[in-house]
Amino acid sequence: MINLQPYQNPTYFVLLAVALLPLAIGLLYGKRFKVYEMIVSFAFLLLTFGGVKLNEGLALLGYVIFETLLVCGYHAYRKKQNSGYVFVLAVVLAIAPLLIFKLTPFVTGKPSILGFLGISYLTFKVVGTVMETRDGMIKELKWYHVLHFLLFFPTISSGPIDRYRRFRKDYEKVPSREKYLELLGKGVWNIFLGFFYKFILAYAFGTLILPVVSKYALGHGGISWWLVAYMYVYAMDLFFDFAGYSLFAVGISYIMGVETPVNFNKPFISKNIKEFWNRWHMSLSFWFRDYIYMRFVFFIMKNKLMKNRVHIASVGYLLLFLIMGFWHGLTWYYIVYGLYHACAIILCDAWLRFKKKHKDKLPHNKFTECLAIFVTFNVVCFSFLIFSGFLDTLFFAK
């Protein structure tokens, strides 16, 4: 059987266009063909997780059954009682498959059979749903809705990370014709912009230029202008590749009448690192903000465990970015990347406080704004150089 990874080649896109056409016509006439959509979803999941990837498909199947049972079980429990221990247990169980998958190679030296493409992203969705259930925000929860939410195929491999209540709200209603035409237009635009990003720009930066600068940087060894070039080229490749993918996922969702949240909003025009995280991989950073940082701060303040606001914020940032680092993978450069961003944002907060206090004395004009963008851009590009693991190859590879 053939196997097609999402958004990788023309065949996938042609199949998508053909399969989605009836759905789009239905939505134009105010109808959601739910059964047809289910068949399409199943077919595309089978394309990605069948054939040579059948082992991943089976892992996915086991995973979603386990997580759906967990979410429904916790929801049923939460209707009657609300113990903090049970909540913590539910969260631990929700992330257990991901933890086992990530830790297995370190223990056994072999990759885990539990893994499949997208496991980390699905885990975010599950944990978010458990947390909102704990808050009593999810009143109605059906097992097939959870399954549908988790298996929504346009975003299954790498997000954007949607939220259960938001997804349900979109899906339960059919957009008006006017609204849907707008969505359709935006969806098609996103997909074509995605082609430009992923298959032209990311291809140029990542496939054509990066190997060349990489070769020269390694040939030179140590710190060189080639290394600086590598940093910028890698940053561009990373952005256009992932932003391109995200545009596809969002565009396809729009065509299906679902307004999946966007992932990127011109990240490189940010004036500080805090703004950067509101523009870069947004569904991930908002997830961390809402489910880790804000909850942590809320918990600490409510129980009066720490007094100083600045200290609470700093510890919160360290927690957030360390978890993000570990989530990316258990290598030193991902963890350093996390620490680096935590430090950057703590410094940024200190600077913003200083700026607020000395508002009248500090100049503010077009030049300082450009300078801020320039500095932020370079701080970010350097973080991606750490993230790329190239420094590891450069300095530590034998």
């Binding site: 947390m131 925000m137 809402d290 940082y293 804000m294 701060v297 809320f298």
Partner: protein
């Protein structure tokens, strides 16, 4: 109630801008951040007796003083 909410916002933002312009976008202008948001939720609980879980906080629904006042009034 309006005054209580504005009082809390003034304390948190350290400016009276929030009382001058009730439609100012608190997040875009940087007047509120996540930290101040959590404090806002805790203050609303303490001073107005309304319980807002963090999950309920959808930024776009709470991003101006007017919207916050309306939310608080609807939750009482």
């Amino acid at each position: 109630m309006k005054d209580t909410v504005l009082g809390i916002l003034e304390d948190l933002t350290g400016s009276d801008e929030v009382s001058k312009d009730l439609d100012v976008n608190l997040f875009e202008t940087g007047l509120l951040d996540s930290m101040a948001t959590v404090q806002l939720l805790l203050e609303l609980q303490a001073q107005c007796g309304i319980d807002v879980p963090v999950s309920e906080f959808e930024r776009s629904e709470w991003d101006t003083p007017n919207k916050i006042i309306a939310k608080v009034e609807s939750m009482q």
